[in-house]
C-alpha cells in the first residue's frame, strides 16, 4: 500500500512537470528539451534555504519556484528568438549547463554527494510524515496546476499561444507581440517545474544532480508527447502511464542492472514509434512543424 501511494505521489509530481512542459511544447509549439533544469533549480533553491537557513519548506518552495521562473526569463529572453531545431538545442544546452553546475559547484551543492537530510513539509506544526498526507499535498498542487493550465489555455492569452503554434507570422500580423507571449509561457512553465522540483526534493529528502539529467527532461517530454501535445487530460494520462509502466518491470523480477537500461530502451523505442506513427500523441491535437 505504501508502495502504491509512493507511485501516486510520483505520478502527481510528474503530472505537474508534464502539464507545465505541455504549455510550452504542446500549446505554444516551442520544443523545449531542458525542462528538468528548472525543477533542478527549484529543488536546490528550496533545499539549500531549508538546510542552511532553516527556512520553512513552504516558503522555500515558493522562492524556489520564483527563482526557477526568473531563470526561465533569463534563458527564455534570448532563446525564444531561435527557430525550431536551434531552440531545441539551446534548451538542451541549458539542461546540460544546469546539470553540470549542480554537479561541479561542490561548495554550494555538494556536487555528486548530493544533499541529504532535507526536512519534509509540516502543516501548522504537524509534520506531514505519513505518505498519504504527502500525497494529499501533491494532489492539491497538481489540482492547482491543472486549474491554472486550464484557465491559461482558455484565456485570450492561451488563444494567442495557440495562434503562435499554428502560424506565428499571422498572429504577428494581428498585432500580437509573439516574442513576449513566448517568453511569458516559458516563465510560467519554469515556475511550475520549480514547484514540482521542490515537492520532489522534500518528499525524497535527498537530492543529487543525477535526478535532473537531460534524460529526465526527455522523459518529461516523452510524457507530454505520449499523452498528447496540447491536451491537458492527455498530460495526466501520459504522466500516469509512464510513471506506472517502469514499475511493472520491477514486478517481472528483473535485476536493476537490466531493468534500468531496459526502461530507457523502452522510452527510446516509444519516442521513435510515436514520431513514426503518431507524433501528436494519444489525445494530441498538434504535431511539430
Amino acid at each position: 500500500m505504501e508502495y502504491l501511494l509512493h507511485i501516486f505521489v510520483l505520478a502527481g509530481i510528474y503530472t505537474i512537470l508534464t502539464l507545465s512542459l505541455n504549455l510550452i511544447v504542446g500549446f505554444t509549439g516551442l520544443p523545449a528539451l531542458g525542462h528538468a533544469a528548472f525543477s533542478c533549480i527549484g529543488a536546490y533553491t528550496s533545499c539549500l534555504l531549508a538546510l542552511n537557513m532553516g527556512l520553512s519548506p513552504w516558503i522555500g518552495l515558493l522562492i524556489g519556484a520564483v527563482i526557477a521562473a526568473f531563470s526561465g526569463l533569463v534563458v527564455g529572453y534570448p532563446a525564444v528568438r531561435l527557430k525550431g531545431d536551434y531552440f531545441a538545442l539551446a534548451t538542451f544546452g541549458l539542461g546540460v549547463i544546469v546539470y553540470s553546475v549542480a554537479k561541479n559547484w561542490v561548495g554550494l551543492t555538494r556536487g555528486p554527494m548530493g544533499l541529504p537530510g532535507i526536512p519534509g513539509f509540516s502543516f501548522f506544526g504537524f509534520p506531514l510524515s505519513e505518505i498519504w498526507s504527502y500525497l494529499l499535498v501533491v494532489l492539491v498542487f497538481a489540482a492547482i496546476t491543472i486549474f491554472v493550465t486550464k484557465r491559461i489555455v482558455h484565456s485570450p492569452f492561451g488563444r494567442v499561444l495557440r495562434s503562435i503554434r499554428e502560424d506565428e507570422l499571422a498572429s504577428q500580423a494581428l498585432g500580437k507581440d509573439t516574442t513576449k507571449h513566448k517568453i511569458l509561457v516559458f516563465v510560467i512553465g519554469a515556475f511550475f517545474a520549480g514547484i514540482a522540483g521542490s515537492l520532489y526534493a522534500h518528499y525524497i529528502t535527498f537530492i543529487d544532480p543525477s535526478s535532473f539529467t537531460v534524460m529526465e527532461s526527455i522523459t518529461i517530454l516523452l510524457m507530454v508527447i505520449f499523452g498528447g501535445m496540447g491536451s491537458i487530460s492527455g498530460s495526466i494520462v501520459g504522466a500516469g502511464t509512464l510513471v506506472l509502466f517502469p514499475e511493472l518491470l520491477r514486478f517481472l523480477g528483473m535485476p536493476s542492472s537490466i531493468a534500468g537500461p531496459m526502461r530507457q530502451m523502452i522510452y527510446g523505442l516509444l519516442l521513435v514509434v510515436l514520431m513514426l506513427k503518431r507524433p501528436q500523441g494519444i489525445m494530441g491535437t498538434y504535431r511539430f512543424k
Binding site: K83, I258, L269, L271
Partner: protein
Amino acid sequence: MFQQLIFNAIISGSIYALIAIGFTVIYKTVKFFHLAHGVVYTAGAYFAYTFLSWLSPQFNNSPAPTAFSFFLPIVLASVVGIGIDRFIYYPLRKQQASNLIFLLASFGVFIFLQNLIQLIYGAQILSIRTGPIKEGHHFLGAVITDVQLTIFFVSVILMLLLWFFIQRTKFGKAIRAVSDDPVAANVVGINPEKVILISFAIGSALAGAAGILISFETNIEPTMGFGALLKGVIASIVGGIGNIPGAVLGGFFLGLVENLGIWKISAGWKDCIAFVILIIFLLVRPWGILGTKTEKETI
C-alpha cells in the same frame, strides 16, 4: 604546461573534428540534426573492443587480424548508420515529417542503442589497450604518445580524404548538388535517396573511426557517445552548419577553448564550457565562423 595544453587541444580537437565532419556530411543531404550519430561513435568503439578481444587472440595477435579488427568496425558502424536511415528516417521522409520530428526520433534511436550497448556489455568501463603503456615522446616541451600521434595523423588523413571525395568525385558532386537544391538535383537525374545513403555510409564510418581512435586513448563506456555527440554538433554549428572546413575548424576551436578552460577550472566543466560557446554563437553569430550571413533566415 602551455605547450602540453596546446597539444592536448589538438588531439581532442581532431577527434571532435572527425565527429563533426561525419555529422556535417549527413546534415548536408538530410538537413536535420542526426543525433544518433553519437551512438554510432560508441558502437564503433564497442565493435573494435569485441573484435580485438575475441578475434585477435584466436590468431595469436598476428598483425593481419588486428588490422582487420580496425577495418571491420568501421564498416559495421557504417552499416548501423545506413540501418538507422533506412528503418527510421526513410519512413519519416515519406511522411514529409518536420525537422523536429526527425530530431526527436533520432534522439530516441540514440537512447535505445546506447542502452542496448549497456545491456550487452554492462555499464562498467572497458579498455582496449593491451600491454604496457609506453612513455611518450618529448617534443617542444610537451609529452606526446604514439597513440596520440596516430589519432592526429589518421584524423587528418580522413579529413583530407573526405575533402577530396566531396570536391573531386562524382558522388561528392552529387552530395553537394542535393545539399544545395534537392529538387533541382532530382531533375538532373540524381537520385536523392541514393545520395542520402552514401552520406550516411560515409558519415557513420567517420563516427565509427573516431570511436575506435579514442578507445585507444581512453577507456570506453556506453555513455561515451553523449559527450562526443554534443561536441560534434556544437563544433558543426560553431564552424558553420553544413560546411566541412567549418566543422574541422569548429572541432579544433572547441578543443582549444575546452583545454584552456580546464586549465583554470576543473575538468568537470567541459560540457558546460562547450554549451556556453554554443549559446554565445547562437546569439551572436548563429551562422558560425565560416558560414555566410544569408543563412540566418533558417535560424
